[in-house]
Symmetry: C2
DNA sequence: CTGATTTCGTACCGCACGGTACAGAATAGA
DNA sequence: TCTATTCTGTACCGTGCGGTACGAAATCAG
């Protein structure tokens, strides 16, 4: 039971924070996104976050804890379209929104190119190994969520009953991860949309749902 | 004109090399493949290559030059199936061999999981920036070679004339790069083959070529 | 043998890394 | 104002990084 600060009782004695943790996370996200976990140094981070090193450690723990907080921040912010897409009424709408939304995010001028889940720590030194595994886990988790959504779609009848939800979810995951690499290589939004059109043409949805 | 040593005149005076550069490159490849350019330290490399640091610098130049030599070694060795696949007689055979060959390589027990071109330096620190750009260039080069092969296939009639070679080549590149991320996440060979089946089902080849 | 040449192994360089000690500044409650 | 508490900024720690100086060892030509 380690409840440092309750929202309903903001009675902070002592010197107040001189920065907005939310903004600081935003800026840390930008650095990790561009350089990956290993490539982002503490100097890069503190400079971008406009705080000193001890403030970072007091507010976020060490580098790895900061990265995990940044991952949550990313999931709730720039990557929130993924979770939202699963709520579309049909499997085709889910996949459409998932892919187009991802393509938009990957090529937005407001973000670095690519996906933090993919680029954050793909191949890295030993010191980043736990972070690498964390990202693998998150990628597989997203894939599993899509698989369950496709299974539901089969039961609801808008996906052909002989479709394989596991393979289809992995196929879409591959498209997303491949698009991420493409975005990091300089692919444009319209180029990615052209690929999505190819993917959707063969989507095994029933009727025209 | 810097011809250090001609093959036909191996008259090396001085102390002979105590290691096989080819084997050493093999071992360096393994390290870079698993850890990426930034994540592989010189200590990792010299330990794996079983040579001392000055020997490495004398034989291969600095770390970046070694990495570029390793890239060539990779292209001619584990990744040689890519170039070979382009010589298949039809576009469908090209893509089949390209994808299945890649899936085999990505999940071979003899290699680290994933593709060096993708994982070598996707997001990294500033010091690896030129290496990152080199890998982007190689990825785009491979994609361009496939595009040209598909254009030839249209002229030869085994690919539907309204197919878009640029988009199709990018689509296959995305599949390959996505499979690389999947392999790094632990996907098995049969799982990747399942995805390839999905891709090939909608390949726009004429007749059953 | 001697001498020229090239590689080998140790031991080291400056530097940037992630992480922290510590003293002073800013607030709240008394 | 005084005290307790928390945050800020400087200055530093040990470590590992990429890269190298240098003398010993190994070969060949003569």
């Amino acid at each position: 039971m380690k409840s440092k600060r309750h929202k309903e009782l903001p009675k902070p004695t002592g010197r107040p924070l001189s920065f907005d943790p939310h903004k600081a996370l935003d800026r840390a996200l930008d650095v990790f996104w561009r350089k990956g976990y290993d490539g982002a140094s503490l100097s890069d981070l503190t400079k971008a976050m406009r705080i000193n090193r001890p403030s970072l450690y007091a507010a976020f723990g060490d580098k790895e804890k900061l990265f995990r907080k940044v991952l949550d921040h990313y999931a709730e912010g720039p990557a929130s379209h993924s979770r939202a897409a699963l709520q579309e009424p049909t499997s085709r709408a889910v996949v459409e929104r998932l892919l187009y939304g991802t393509a938009d995010m990957l090529t937005s001028d407001r973000n670095p190119r690519g996906c933090l889940w993919v680029q954050g720590a793909l191949a890295c030194g030993d010191s980043a190994d736990s972070v690498r595994k964390e990202l693998i886990s998150r990628r597989l988790g997203g894939e599993a969520a899509l698989r369950q959504r496709l299974q539901r779609a089969i039961m609801e009848g808008d996906l052909l009953p002989d479709a394989n939800p596991t393979s289809l979810a992995r196929y879409i995951a591959i498209i997303i991860q491949g698009m991420s690499v493409q975005a990091a290589s300089g692919a444009t939004r319209s180029q990615l949309r052209g690929i999505i059109d190819i993917v959707l043409e063969s989507w095994p949805s029933r009727r025209n749902t």
